[in-house]
Amino acid sequence: MQWVQIAITIVFWVAVATLAVGLIRRIRLWRNGRDAPVDWGGLLAIPRRYLVDIHHVVARDSYIANTHMAVAGGALAALALVAINYGLALYQPWLDWLTLAAAAVMLVGSYFIWARRRNPPARLSKGPWSRLPFTLAGFAAGVIGLMLVTLVPPSATTTMLALPLLLLLIAGSAELALGIGAGGPMKHAVAGLLHLGFHPRKQRFTGRSVDLRPLDLDAGDFGVGKPADFRWNQLLSFDACVQCGKCEAACPAFAAGQPLNPKKLIQDLVVGLASGSDAKFAGSPYPGIPIGEHAGAPDKAVVPFLIEPATLWSCTTCRACVEECPMLIEHVDAIIDLRRNLTLTTGELPGTASETLANLRETGTTGGHDVAARQHWAVDLDVKQAQPGTLVDVLLVVGEGAFDTRYQRTLRALVKSLKAAKIDFAVLGDSEFDTGDTARRLGDEATFQMLAQRNIANFARFQFRRIVTPDPHVLNSLKNDYPALGGHFAVLHHSTLLAQLAKSGQLQLGPTPDRRAVTYHDPCYLGRYNGEIDAPRDLLKAIGIEVREMERSGLRGRCCGGGGGAPLTDIPGRQRIPDIRIGDAKATGAAIVAVGCPQCTAMLEGVVGERPEVLDIAELVAQSLPVPA
């Protein structure tokens, strides 16, 4: 069947040409974005990033991991074989056999995709994505059939079958080849691979990378106002989205019914980069915002034409979406970039966010407090104040919680433990200013940089070995955000230090006198941002507490709702995020939620009605200090 072979060759090359044209068109769109260094070496790293980093995420759902392996692996193998055998017109039967085998694997995978999609979870997009199992199966079946047609001796039957099979192949190839150019579902394959190569945050492949890019304010860089303000590789990254909705399922704001859905946000940005409206979006909308009323273009302002401000202000910057995304898309970076533009060019922030930023500029505290009052909690504790010229081991940065009578209990408990362990520590007193974390997450880079510079200069006045803080936001700011501005410090969370001390025996701990059941809530800025999920658990274990884990914990913990300035912007939803989290805690039957963050303490304690008691790890530890004889 010579003509069938030639036809396949033609189909192959037409498909390749279509793909190439589509890719060029898409590249043009990406190139609308701002410049970013092109890391060609990243292309070489694609296989490793695919097999290691993506697999690491996808493997959490083994069903879809195996299915995707079968479909994508089968398809890639089949395409490669067809490229060699038909693209180069070799027409070797043994290659046909291999092709057939690869397509068969793909067909089986497609079946499982179809099976999952018969009763899909709400997070999955419908629309074109629903046809994917069929077009992929069509492609696989077309390949299998045509291979058979070429392999078996020609007969009337094969002749009769060849044409429909060829049409099946064409249909399947169209899905694959048109995807990138026409923005179909298979766009993800090409964009996803390129995205792996040109990832805007390539540090994440070698370690944890959560720092935000500092803006060059003097050069007029005020974040992203229109899609073309994103760097080109960010635009590319949006195209990689497979609309799996893992981010949506993880997002606390979405769960609380606030008008945010990270998946929709990424898709809106795709709409923006390619011009169009969101009417074709076939997934869950932003709660409360109907689909079809927003449109965008590369040079059109994102807010409010494409995305409502409330969507951006709902985000707690918890990074749950980033943690879950199989395509390694960086939602939080996009949200912060957009917020930056709103804050720096319009200053229009909802709720008490504007007031908070003014407080930060004018008093160096979020609450507008007198910095001289920051150390009031310690008046009777005989806590040293850092003095220039005197070396201390630990500089204790207490954070904004010091102004809150509730959180002062935590601080006092921490001091008790530090003293018990004979740690040489000092506080900053009235020269401690807010790190600027809240300002930065609210997009006020100017205020953040002002505070960061002030703090870096202030830290330089003192001699200390390391900084310890009970506030993960302080921790993250100092550890991850300050280096880019020239501040390099060894920073530890109090739980990390206490766990080290407990392990080394420097801190003697008895069993906790409180026998109630305990669950532990991972603060996002400690767990996901800084990878510290073990120290708090080790510490609890050391005082004889067995943590009853919540369904979402550790690196996949659910946010308390307190990050990113979200409590200030306070976008209304159906529910409050901390209510959901307390629900998680109650489900474990625990009577105590252990926390390690002033913000989590405040959020979880703000929940109305019957709820477990909220205690900081430091409080639980202090309770277990042996009573001095």
Partner: protein, 254 residues
Amino acid sequence: MTATARRIAVLAALGRNPVSGKARPNRDDLLALELARQLGGDLTLIHAGNPDEAALGDYFAYGASSLDLVPLADGGDVASALVTRLAGYDLILAGSRAEGGEGSGLVPYLVAETLGLPIVADVIAITLGDEATEVTQALAKGQRRRVRVTLPAVIAVYPKALVTPRYAYARRLAGRVTTYVAPAMEPVASPWHREAAKKRPVKFRAAETKSGHARMLSAIVAEARGGAVIAAGTPADKAQAILAYLRLHKLIDW
């Protein structure tokens, strides 16, 4: 639209954060600026004071695009300095009170008097017409009053006017300052001497006529401010205590 062609001046003082004392745009003047911005028109901010004060730049972040600066030594006559730059405006807006220094709230009145213009204070909303402007005044207890005033006019904005000044850093970089020559003015020594605020100012009262016991009683009442706790007694007694407190501080009149 005649309204957009209006020339509007906003008088801007240097303010201070009450907690930290850090210099900042004067809160009340920001409200005036924001109201003026909403009116549209040709807007100029006018400040008399130290030309090197960096915090003035924050007015740009709050939406002013140009600032006319009349250099003036500390304690100088602000109103007279301002008046040198105020010719030809249709509307002159000011905040109610400067938070940086004396904060007498007199400046807009002195400006109006010097220029022979009408002045309306406690304004929360402005509608511009051709010959006159209609303003809404806030009165006690949240009452409102509409007033029509001929143009040009001076308007002092109510300190709790429901407008929200917005700080946008990008605008800060775009502002333009024009510094004028300092007007020749006789330096006058201020009659005022500043000191830290007292918790409780001394009341002006007649030479002592009360019995020693009454004196002590009133001393207790004064001291008890800032945290009297009443635990004993019946709820009715306690209700009376609340009313007594309200009466004592003239918060109710019955």
